[in-house]
Chain length 210, copies 2
């Protein structure tokens, strides 16, 4: 199993290689990739070991070949189907983002507990009541669940989604969610992030002033 951190970097490196492809750069050294990405050259070479694509000491890496191999590993061409729970501000921003910009991600359905929001379409996705989650998911195989509820019921929704067979979850709520082994969960706690940045910004200002 390739570590999470390596996958993260490979995703970024792939976008960098895409730019190099656009400018018709045929070869690239790990040192150049380091400059472009901010990762160390040693780390890039180590990450590329997981990809199984060899460069050579003369030219470095073949941009096109490496790109293709990373794409194969990440399977970025495969479409992921998703559902979203919580059609508030953030939920709508996410829906909107994906309906426009992300060809390989499709949102199949959205859910909300506000009855006035259901039976509509938002950014191309039908909106159902939260009580219908299990019912709707019976008929479809969904890869990823997105939780954008405002508060407090994130865990119960996560539990439902896991029970329905979803293997990947992204939780944008401020309540950290826990899932059993065998489920990949990403907690994006924006409130926590802001508090963290506020803390370190203060520390750094104080450091500078002294």
């Amino acid at each position: 199993m390739i570590p999470t951190k390596t996958i993260e970097r490979l995703i970024i490196l792939k976008t960098i290689l895409q730019k190099l492809l656009d400018t018709k750069t045929p070869y690239v050294f790990s040192r150049e990739l380091s400059k472009l990405s901010g990762y160390s050259a040693a780390q890039i070479r180590r990450d590329l070991m997981s990809v199984g694509y060899a460069g050579n000491p003369k030219n470095g890496y073949d941009v096109s070949g490496l790109f293709t191999q990373i794409e194969k590993l990440l399977q970025t061409k495969t479409t992921s189907s998703m559902i979203l729970v919580g059609v508030g501000n953030l939920g709508r921003a996410v829906l909107n983002h994906f309906s426009r910009l992300q060809p390989n991600f499709t949102i199949r359905a959205a859910f909300d507990n506000d009855i006035s929001k259901i039976d509509r379409e938002i950014s191309g996705a039908p909106v159902y009541h939260i009580s219908q989650i299990t019912e709707v998911l019976k008929h479809e195989t969904i890869d990823i669940g997105i939780i954008t509820v405002p508060e407090s019921d994130a865990q119960s929704i996560a539990t439902m989604l896991v029970a329905s067979g979803i293997k990947g979850l992204i939780n944008f709520s401020s309540e950290p969610v826990h899932v059993p082994e065998g489920i990949y969960l990403e907690n994006i706690n924006i409130s926590m992030t802001f508090k963290k940045v506020a803390y370190f910004a203060r520390m750094l200002r104080q450091e500078e002033e002294s």
Copy 2:
């Protein structure tokens, strides 16, 4: 300097202690905090060493006292002033979120390069043209800069904000941004996160099927 990971956990623990305060729970053991947070009890005790608030073997930790001490450490009562660059969907969602829910964060100004968006107020923040960033920041001390531009100019904006004296940055764009020492930067790359979750969800499904 307290490590980032510890600060993250203290922020979460503080919200858990808040709930315990609400239910008038006077004392709590590290084992109970572990159950509530998902962190190990050993890790919680280690984190609390940084806080400098001692529990005791008989009752555990005094909820109210520990809460107050963490609040003091994190300075969560101090208001942070922020500016936001890029008034698109995500930018508006963030503005909206903070104007409603976060009393200790105020957005002082927003910036966009679309002229039709300027000279208005969005969620209580005046919107200026991007070219005015340096000018506006001359008159105000801003703690945190939020970058929600759609693409490609995130780095140049980050560089401007750093030059204006901002010490904390949150970059929501899909372009990773680099800053010098002495600046705290959080890259929240939502596109990357979705690709990562898609990858691991696929891996986990394949594992299960075999």
